[in-house]
């Protein structure tokens, strides 16, 4: 029901949908994500009032035409259903609109995605690192960052 409604209202922007193991998922293009999020929040039948999670995945090692995907998980308290929206981003332009004006928690989630992946959020009030220290160079959760590369502030390197 959810996926049909999304496809009916945003026809061209929905690139693909699936329901693997019962989780409704839709892949949406990056220009329409703010409108889609607003629609999901305000439509009385869908009523997704909680943004559960906002994260990203780096598809460098899997064969896909784009590099990053920003993944949003929404939950509706009244209707008790969930949906997952994914936004594909290419390596040349890793940026997407922020959802801070709709849900204030997106502020911290997006800071973490910036810190770990280097994806910019346009319109974010305070986009700085949250997990790592400011002197750190690079974005750790990208697939091309080696896991043992340390950048110590004090002390020896190894």
């Amino acid at each position: 029901m959810i996926l049909e409604k999304i496809k009916a209202n945003f026809g061209q922007a929905v690139l693909e949908t699936h329901s693997f193991r019962g989780d409704d998922t839709a892949l949406v293009s990056r220009e329409k994500i703010f409108e889609l999020a607003k629609f999901l929040k305000e439509d009385p039948e869908l009523d997704f009032n909680i943004l559960m999670d906002l994260t990203a995945v780096d598809y460098l090692k899997m064969e896909k035409p784009y590099r990053y995907e920003v993944v949003y998980h929404f939950f509706s308290l009244a209707k008790k259903h969930r949906v997952r929206i994914k936004v594909p981003l290419t390596e040349e332009n890793p940026s997407v609109a922020t959802l801070t004006s709709l849900w204030p928690i997106a502020n911290w989630f997006e800071r973490e995605v910036w810190d770990m992946f280097g994806i910019r959020f346009e319109g974010h009030p305070n986009l700085k690192r949250i997990m790592m220290y400011e002197e750190f160079v690079g974005h750790p959760l990208r697939k091309d960052y080696p896991v043992r590369k340390r950048q110590p502030l004090i002390g020896p390197k190894n």
Partner: protein, 158 residues
């Protein structure tokens, strides 16, 4: 002046006895600074409470200021963001001071061999007693505490 030094060498018996007494007093009144970060903190709390009482060793009164304490218990993983803070607290402590590395994350880094963890705090500050374990059982902690007491007993003010 030279006569005074000759006098002292014949009083060697008394100075060693005084040293022993000071060592005895120090080892049974340990003022600890618990620098608790992670899961080992749960076992630290269990050791400090009534079941595996650490108060019977005289070490049951944590002082929360580095200037007033003499043993620094580093409990739990130290990340690179926290390392300068640890060094600063160690520098603020007054002599004589001892450091206990509690838990395997502080001894050698544990199984967190990645970009964010300090592999052993002995790369930053000198450590006196290592208590390995993930987390160490309270009996291990009490054993380590007794070894620390032996070390304190034999400490000479040089």
């Amino acid at each position: 002046m030279i006569e005074k030094e000759a006098d002292l060498s014949s009083m060697g018996f008394f100075t060693t006895k005084v040293n022993d007494m000071v060592g005895w007093a120090r080892k049974y009144s340990i003022f600890q600074y618990p620098f608790v970060t992670a899961c080992c903190g749960m076992e630290y709390m269990a050791t400090a409470c009534s079941h595996y009482d650490v108060d019977r060793f005289g070490a049951g009164f944590p002082r929360f200021s580095p200037r007033q304490s003499d043993v620094l218990f580093v409990v739990g993983t130290i990340s690179h963001k926290l390392a300068p803070v640890l060094k600063r607290i160690y520098d603020q402590m007054t002599e004589p001071k001892w450091v206990v590395a509690f838990g395997v994350c502080t001894c050698t880094g544990g199984f967190y061999d990645n970009y964010a963890t300090v592999m052993g705090i002995d790369t930053l500050i000198p450590v006196d007693v290592y208590i390995p374990g993930c987390p160490p059982r309270p009996e291990n902690v009490l054993d380590g505490l007794m070894k620390l007491q032996e070390k304190i007993q034999s400490h000479h003010d040089s």
